[in-house]
């Protein structure tokens, strides 16, 4: 536990946020994001190119000497807050956070460097619901090293040029890189189409082993970092929901009064504000401890995933409810955030799973089921 950790935003982080926000304001309108749900993914490649290459976010977490921008989890968290605020359909979390973190364990930096430069996009091939402590590889290598198996509901696979596949081997888990073209990647109709999933089938697919027996450590660490930082995305979702609802209710009148002036509504929004600020503390702590490789980062990640998952869902649900009918329409962007929040809640281990694992870490273990008469 690190009690000197800075939970505020540094000037560098604030400047980064502004440049991301400016770009998204210009290029990521709600209309275009909503269109993604009808299969119109036109917005996606250009937006990602701008973020990855023009702003250099693709390699944000990769050290400069290994081809990246050399920033830390703190900066990545701020980027994710903004991506959450816009429900942006880009593979930053899957490629620049999770896949890059896994590739930091690779013996050879060539693949990492192409991902860090934004030239190629990568994805770790696990179901998006996988909790860091619950990795169960379903792909195996045959005698010739070709890969066989099926992995369902993979996030980032649709956008990926290269797939990083955890492979069950005799002495643990290995991580293999497979060209996307060598796999069958089938889009899945997803709750959150702004991060559309895919089913990945490997049928004697040629792969390159990038991490050997320590692959489980690499993937678990990458998923844990994903859990720590998706909390900031969830914070961004909650923030958008709170801000949008407050603005709407200040303007909306019913019964000749501003709806935002009704006390029951005010109290709910006050509670939501407190929840959102609490989520910010949790998300910042997870990002800061991850950045510092603080020994408390495992606790911090689970705590943030638990708290921010619930906060984002609650904020999105309140947003829909307090908008009334308009919040239930396809045209209003509220549903983008509800779907993102709900999917993020389930992603990378749901809150109950996170708390159960947290109990182990802080010596508050779940007892066996037999423990009553």
């Amino acid at each position: 536990m690190n009690d000197d950790v800075n939970l505020l935003y540094t000037d560098v982080e604030t400047a980064l946020r502004e440049s991301v926000s400016d770009l998204l304001t210009a290029r990521c309108s709600p209309e275009k994001v909503i269109a993604v749900f009808d299969g119109d993914r036109e917005i996606q490649p250009k937006l990602w190119r701008s973020l990855a290459l023009d702003l250099g976010l693709a390699g944000l977490l990769v050290p400069e000497e290994r081809g990246g921008a050399g920033a830390s989890a703190r900066e990545a968290a701020v980027v994710l807050e903004e991506l959450g605020r816009f429900a942006a359909p880009v593979p930053f979390l899957t490629s620049s956070v999770i896949a890059s973190a896994a590739l930091l364990h690779a013996g050879d930096d060539r693949l990492l460097a192409t991902v860090a430069s934004g030239e190629r996009t990568a994805a770790v091939v696990v179901p998006f619901s996988t909790a860091p402590n619950d990795l169960r590889p379903t792909v195996r290598a045959d005698g010739q090293g070709a890969l066989n198996g099926r992995v369902t509901s993979v996030a980032g696979a649709l956008e990926a040029d290269v797939l990083l596949v955890p492979v069950a081997a005799q002495d643990g888990v290995e991580l293999h890189a497979v060209e996307a073209g060598a796999a069958s990647v089938t889009p899945v109709v997803s709750m959150d189409m702004t991060r559309q999933l895919a089913d990945v089938d490997l049928d004697a697919a040629p792969g390159t082993r990038v991490v050997e027996a320590g692959g489980d450590t690499a993937v678990r660490g990458a998923l844990e970092l994903g859990a720590a930082l998706i909390a900031s995305e969830q914070l961004g979702v909650a923030q958008w929901c709170l801000d949008t609802t407050v603005s709407y209710l200040r303007e909306r009148t019913q019964f000749g009064r501003s709806v935002g002036g009704f006390q029951a509504i005010k109290h709910r929004l006050a509670d939501l504000y407190v929840t959102t600020e609490s989520a910010r503390a949790a998300a910042r702590y997870a990002a800061a401890t991850a950045a510092d490789e603080d020994s408390d980062r495992h606790v911090a990640a689970l705590m943030a995933k638990s708290y921010c998952s619930e906060a984002a869902v609650r904020a999105a649900e309140e947003c829909v409810q307090l908008h009334g009918g308009i919040g239930m329409t396809w045209e209003h962007p509220a549903h983008l955030y509800l779907k993102r929040a709900k999917a993020d809640q389930i992603a990378l281990g749901n809150p109950q799973a996170a708390r159960r694992q947290l109990g182990e870490l802080v010596d508050l273990p779940m007892p066996p089921a037999g423990s009553t008469a």
Partner: protein
């Protein structure tokens, strides 16, 4: 014989007579339903001559059982829910004799589908703020405005419509209630797509739509009173169908837990059983309320059932998606369709989660229902109002 037994014997006799003259096996459905209506066996609590026998409502269950056992057709009540649940009791309470004779029979048989034109973009919770104007032109009213959240509008022959007939008086006093012909050329229906991807509702644009004064329901300026009666019936209908244990959202979750042991997690058990208890207690509360109301009128207590139903449906479907894990990340289909009826069963958990969000908005938001309970049941003071005593046209908006 007790009175109860006498009544049942009489009903049995009437049903037998109907079945004798109209063998379900050989009679056209519509012919059978018309005959059922004419025999007073449609809704026994309606008056004689209007499809009923003036009996307590509870006896209809017995009639339906007898008819079902004989293989008789039904009127597909879910398809015509707005007609049965909202239009019919309102017409019965406020309609002229001629209106009752004209509208109730085809409404009940399903020959004519009904929809409801109440809500507007600027009049949601504050329904009395409706701005759709009806201006008298001799014996006809000319209507202009926009309505939203109209289910079945594209299938409907008739609508119940709330419109402003006098903007110069306070808002509650200036509305009237009409029966609107949905085939009128001034009525345009556009699908309104929802967060589920579907367009279960519509927007309805009224441009010089014409309504004969004979289709006014209740007195001019009495629209608010008539609409309130309609809404009370709606809330009872929404909150009241508790049915059997686990015949609600909790059934899906319980079934998943039972049949898919791989989904079971000890950390989810207390939430699962909490929701199970709440769902079952809600069902018992509904049963208790129906026992209380068996002979009476819908009262504000029904608002509590709708509150609970909305909250639980949302909580349970939200929990279910988490329980399903990976499967909860997937969705069946975002393609826009226009379903005839809302049916949660047979749909995937994602659809149910999203659709349930509407349960606390449609038919009176949960916030409005809490106001109603606080003011009408608990007799707490009303909200300070800025719009009560001034002309509708002068209210800030």
């Amino acid at each position: 014989m007790t009175t109860e037994e006498t009544v049942r014997a009489d009903l049995k006799e009437r049903v037998d007579a109907l079945l004798t003259t109209h063998d379900p096996a050989t009679t056209d459905q519509l012919v059978f339903l018309r005959a059922q209506f004419d025999a007073g066996l449609a809704w026994v609590h309606f008056p004689e001559g209007l499809g009923g026998l003036g009996l307590p409502r509870a006896h209809q269950t017995y009639v339906n059982e007898l008819l079902a056992a004989a293989g008789a057709p039904d009127n597909d009540p879910r398809r015509i829910g707005i007609g049965l649940g909202m239009a019919a009791p309102t017409i019965l309470a406020f309609g002229t004799d001629e209106q009752k004779r004209r509208f109730l029979r085809p409404l009940w048989t399903g020959e004519e589908v009904w929809c409801q034109l109440f809500s507007e973009p600027g009049a949601g919770s504050d329904l009395a703020a409706v701005g759709t104007r009806a201006v008298r032109d001799g014996d006809t009213w000319v209507v202009n405005g926009q309505k939203v959240w109209t289910s079945s509008a594209h299938k409907a022959r008739w609508a119940i419509l709330l419109a402003r007939t006098d903007p110069d008086v306070p808002k509650h006093a200036g509305m009237s209630y009409f029966i609107c012909d949905m085939t009128d050329p001034g009525v345009e229906v556009r699908p309104l797509r929802q967060i589920t991807g579907e367009a279960e509702f519509n927007e309805v644009f009224l441009s010089d739509a014409r309504i004969p004064d004979a289709h006014r329901l209740g007195e001019e300026g009495e629209g608010w009173k008539v609409a309130n009666a309609t809404l009370m019936n709606e809330r009872v209908a929404i909150g009241g169908n508790a049915a059997q244990r686990e015949v609600s959202m909790i059934g899906f979750v319980a079934n998943a837990w039972r049949t898919r042991p791989e989904l079971r997690r000890p950390e989810a058990h207390d939430q699962l059983t909490s929701l199970w208890v709440e769902a079952e207690v809600a069902r018992l509360s509904g049963k208790r309320l129906r026992q209380k109301l068996a002979a009476g009128e819908p009262g504000p207590e029904g608002s509590g059932m709708k509150l609970t139903f909305a909250r639980l449906t949302q909580q349970i479907t939200g929990f279910e998606l988490q329980l399903l894990g990976e499967e909860g990340l997937r969705y069946a289909d975002w393609t826009m369709t226009r379903p005839d009826i809302v049916d949660f069963t047979g749909r995937d958990a994602g659809y149910r989660y999203l659709r349930a969000k509407g349960n606390s908005i449609e038919g009176g938001t949960s916030e409005i229902l809490r106001n109603i309970i606080a003011e009408r049941v608990l007799k707490l003071p009303a909200e300070p109002r800025a719009d009560k005593d001034i002309a509708w046209k002068d209210i800030p908006r």
